[in-house]
């Protein structure tokens, strides 16, 4: 005889019920002294005449009557596919559900999903347990993190009311799992009403849910290539859609994380500094994809002259630009869209190039620690030059630690960071204090010696932990 997971659990639950001692309820009263046992367990656990057995038999008889009368309906409700759900992160998982939310079938729409599902036994699982397991595994493998926190839930059922029910239930479950892992989730949902996206799904080997999202985005911006978008995680697709002011999908909660990238503000600064002017007008910035690389597209005018930049969203490198950079920087703070003050300017052909401002350097350091400016104590920034390259040294105090960051003035990359204890007694916080996250730094150079109590890292290659995760 074969046993399903449900059968096994039901057997175990019944067995436990039958061995649980009954209680002498008459012994429980408010007249009893406090030191007496509240519950008198029956010493002989014979319960043929006990109330518990009678209640259990009544419940069993009740269930049998209903099962018999509604056997056919019960079979259909439990075994026919009623809804299809796609969970897209970058792994894309499809679940087929019965009317009673039993998971009938789970399939992987791509290789990453195969990897996630290979470790899970979802046969006969309840839907919320299946979601727990799938989302939990995606976090474990690094597909969902603080840097890439987006989950797309797509549901397909003929009944729109049922669609809404499922979207709400699944969103709640996904959010709970991620919050337990200290991840602020961004959850998006959509109802799949037609199979119009099926050709895109089949062409690029993605789920209908993801294909529908891409189809909606490309409809509004034909410059975007569905093939390139199909290779991206949902988080990046949502960032691109959002920067183009598209509501391609319903936002249930949160916002797609851009922590893996340099940020619009830094991208703006890099472009404006390269153009040689702080006085920019008609500034526009958004995210896109170029040859598989996430980029910021920055455009503006300077005294009527148009400029356009494509900036690598991870490294801040300028991939391409149009417009002739102005040779002398102009410091004029009276116009709109001015960028923060630069260090002492140098002509392009002399000395180091600074594409980011000192304020940008401070923001990069704070962002790396995951804290807001008000959480930092004293902050000092100075510019330095080494081998004709410009750097900012940012020193800041957070709690009992003094941090030092060295940031490349051209690219905004963190090339070195370290900390040491400052021996101060931390102030008693009014509410639990946030612990700054350690900066994500490149590989440690074995030649470096630690400074103070912290660890110093030299700049290495650009590889990060998330690079292997699609």
């Amino acid at each position: 005889m074969k046993y399903s997971n449900r059968d096994i659990e039901n057997m175990l639950s019944t067995a436990y019920k039958n061995i649980t001692p009954s209680a002498d309820c008459a012994a429980m009263s408010s007249d009893r002294p406090a030191n007496q046992k509240v519950i008198e367990m029956s010493s002989a656990r014979t319960r043929r005449q006990g109330w518990q057995y009678k209640v259990a038999s009544l419940a069993a008889a009740f269930a049998i009557v209903f099962t018999g009368a509604f056997g056919y309906v019960s079979y259909n409700e439990h075994n026919a596919v009623d809804s299809i759900v796609d969970i897209d992160v970058n792994p894309s998982v499809e679940l087929k559900l019965s009317k009673t939310d039993k998971v009938l079938e789970v399939s992987a729409a791509n290789r990453d999903a195969e990897k996630v599902l290979s470790e899970l036994d979802l046969a006969d699982a309840e839907l919320d347990d299946a979601i727990d397991m799938i989302i939990g595994a995606m976090v474990e493998y690094g597909y969902i993190s603080e840097d890439a926190n987006s989950v797309l839930i797509s549901v397909s059922n003929k009944d729109e009311h049922r669609n809404e029910e499922l979207k709400n239930m699944l969103s709640t479950e996904v959010e709970a799992v991620l919050r337990q892992r200290s991840i602020d989730p961004a959850i998006f949902s959509q109802s799949l009403r037609s199979k119009a996206a099926k050709p895109i799904a089949e062409q690029y080997g993605i789920s209908i849910g993801k294909a529908t999202l891409i189809q909606n985005i490309v409809k509004s911006d034909k410059s975007l290539n569905p093939g390139e978008l199909s290779q991206l995680p949902v988080n990046d697709i949502i960032l691109i859609a959002g920067s183009k002011a598209q509501n391609a999908v319903e936002t249930v909660s949160g916002s797609a994380s851009d922590k893996a990238y340099i940020g619009e503000s830094t991208a703006k600064s890099i472009a404006a500094n390269h153009a040689g002017s702080q006085n920019v007008q008609n500034l526009k910035v958004g995210m896109s994809i170029e040859n598989g690389t996430m980029i910021y597209e920055v455009s503006f005018t300077v005294s009527g002259t148009p400029f356009a930049y494509d900036i690598d969203a991870r490294t801040g490198a300028i991939i391409g630009f149009t417009g002739k950079p102005i040779s002398n920087n102009q410091h004029n703070s009276s116009n709109n869209d001015t960028v923060p003050n630069e260090p002492e300017e140098t002509p392009e052909e002399q000395g180091p190039v600074y594409n980011i401002s000192s304020d940008d350097a401070k923001d990069i350091a704070l962002s790396s620690l995951g804290i807001t400016p008000d959480k930092a104590g004293k902050v000092s920034i100075s510019s330095k030059t080494k081998d004709d390259r410009g750097y900012y040294e940012v020193r800041l105090t957070v709690g009992t630690r003094d941090y030092t960051y060295v940031i490349d003035g051209e690219t905004g990359k963190i090339v070195m960071c370290g900390w040491q204890n400052n021996g101060k007694t931390p102030e008693e916080p009014a509410e639990p204090e946030e612990v700054p996250t350690e900066p994500p730094v490149p590989e440690k150079d074995p030649a470096d010696k630690p400074q103070g109590n912290g660890t110093v890292y030299e700049s290495g290659n650009e590889k990060t932990d998330n690079d292997d995760v699609a």
Partner: protein, 189 residues
């Protein structure tokens, strides 16, 4: 669901009942203890047994749980999750008892007989309890007991047992595989 029998104890209505009982106990209504016991006894006893693997000890802990609830009901904050609070007390008391007593990792045949001595226990019950109490590792037994009897979700189990969610998931799967192997015949590894 109506057509599945038996149901876990943790339906929404039962959850509300349990919480009401705790609040009544906090207000001094000791009679509510009896109702609370009826609603939660299997969850508490089964969880205690899954930790202690000894029927008399599990009975002792079960009694102590309700005494503890009487003492600390006022500290319960109503958030619609009373059963995790009750089982957290169960876990703490069980672990204290475990530290005092030296226990074997598995249940002897004699102990199993004591566990199953009630006349209400059927042959199927005996088979599955033998498979669980003699065949599963500690955490596997606790996890599957919480899931099957109390209807906890995996992340709730992870919270209660202070384990990472993936660990709970993999131990749960392993527990099911072992039980299935034993129930369908074959050696349990």
């Amino acid at each position: 669901m109506l057509f599945s029998n038996p149901e876990p104890e943790n339906t929404a209505r039962e959850t509300a009942n349990i919480e009401q009982c705790i609040l009544r106990i906090a207000a001094g209504d000791i009679d509510a203890v009896g109702i609370l016991y009826k609603e939660t006894k299997t969850a508490v006893y089964s969880f205690a047994l899954s930790i202690l693997r000894n029927a008399p000890d599990a009975e002792d802990v079960t009694q102590d749980v309700y005494i503890r609830i009487c003492d600390f009901a006022q500290s319960y904050k109503p958030k619609g999750r009373p059963l995790p609070w009750v089982l957290s007390i169960t876990r703490n008391l069980s672990l204290m008892k475990l530290r005092k007593a030296k226990r074997e990792d598995t249940v002897s045949d004699e102990e199993l007989e004591r566990v199953c001595e009630s006349d209400a226990v059927t042959q199927d019950d005996r088979i599955v309890l033998t498979a669980a109490l003699q065949g599963l590792a500690d955490e596997e037994l606790q996890i599957i007991t919480l899931h099957a009897v109390s209807g906890f979700k995996h992340r709730e189990i992870a919270d209660l047992l202070e384990m990472p969610l993936p660990t709970v998931l993999s131990k749960y799967n392993r527990a099911l595989k072992k039980l299935r192997l034993q129930l369908e015949g074959g050696d349990m590894k």
